[in-house]
Amino acid sequence: MVLVLLGITFVSSAAVGFVYRVTEEPIEQAKQANVKSALAEVLPAFDESVSQELVLDELALTVHTATQQGQTVGYAVETATKNGFSGLIRMMVGFDAEGNVLNVKVLEHNETPGLGSKMADEGNPLLTSFQGKNPASMKLSVRKDGGEVDALTAATISSRAYVDAVARAYNAYLQASGNEGTDVTTGATGQHAQQEGESYE
């Protein structure tokens, strides 16, 4: 009896191990392709990019510095926030060399379909409030909290999380580029952030 169960688990784990070996490379490639297409969407044309890992507030961020013929043309920051309505939100934020937001792409989220999920849509109010602006020159919170960012209708938590992720990306950009500037903080991020035991001020 025990032997049969042992045999089954042995054969099963061997099979899973085999499939893992086979799919390891395609999975890695799919992830890379994902990052690459996101980079192309948030940055101007570039011919080389160097990535660098940073840790801000216990979350790992990756900064890609893009150069065109040796000239830095922009930075793309893979950022994340835990303040979403459900689960981690991962985004890619593109900055030009001066720190203006070029474009934002949501890589991964589990927000409510039809409400918070609109953060990933083209031309949504969150995206348009950031595009072409420097986060340091803005009041970084949604209008409801007295800031300058247009929130998604009926999705304030998701909107606040979005702002939080962009602010984090900007701070990572400052660190990576060595540009002058002070770290930005988001305004009142509301109850949800406090529940998570994080403070921003």
Binding site: V4, L5, I8, V16, N34, G114
Partner: protein, 196 residues
């Protein structure tokens, strides 16, 4: 003829969603759009057919007492295999289905079929049973997903046919229960004669 009936049975008489009421958790959770429903159905069908075949092959060497743990190990391995394959070859679908794929392990349909059918029948019949039940599950999920997508976002398989928002409630959790309930009524009404 008999073989055909095996498949047909899973679609109508023993439709897992509308008649057996098995696997309700993924049914309610993943059917926010027709595409997601179909993806979940197909992933479940793949696991169901594979696990049915293997369980039917090894049924004679498994002692009765460790039957359930053995089935679970076999099913879990296939789920992991399917998950890895999806991650590698259809990353877009994997992204939307995400957490529901590992949950196929505890989907009662699969363990139910292993226990009720595969452990008593030959590999070929078990494969056909898996195919039938799997198709029934896929079809049901696609229909529920399509109705929810049409009412909730005004689209079908991602193609929008209205501008503006749909009735949001159908994309959210309550809509899943409402649509499932009405479709169940409709299904049972339509097939009432056939099932007698």
């Amino acid at each position: 003829m008999n073989k055909l009936r095996l498949i047909w049975k899973g679609l109508i008489k023993e439709n897992p969603t509308f008649v057996l009421l098995l696997g309700m958790c993924p049914t309610l959770g993943t059917t926010t759009s027709a595409m997601n429903g179909m993806g979940m159905g197909l992933a479940t069908m793949a696991v169901l057919i594979l696990s049915n075949i293997v369980i039917s092959c090894v049924k004679n060497i498994i002692p009765d007492k460790v039957r359930i743990p053995s089935f679970i190990v076999i099913i879990a391995s296939f789920v992991t295999v399917v998950q890895l394959c999806m991650q590698a070859y259809v990353p877009e679908l994997y992204k939307t289905l995400g957490v529901f794929i590992p949950l196929i392990v505890v989907n009662c349909i699969i363990l139910g079929r292993a226990e009720a059918f595969a452990s008593k029948n030959g590999p070929l019949d078990s494969a056909l049973d898996g195919l039938g039940i799997g198709l029934g599950f896929t079809l049901s999920l696609t229909v529920i997903g399509a109705v929810r997508e049409m009412l909730g976002s005004g689209a079908i398989f991602g193609h929008r046919f209205i501008t503006g928002d749909g009735m949001l409630i159908f994309v959210l959790a309550p809509g899943a229960f409402i649509v499932l309930g009405y479709l169940m009524v409709l299904f049972n009404k339509l097939t009432a004669k056939q099932r007698q």
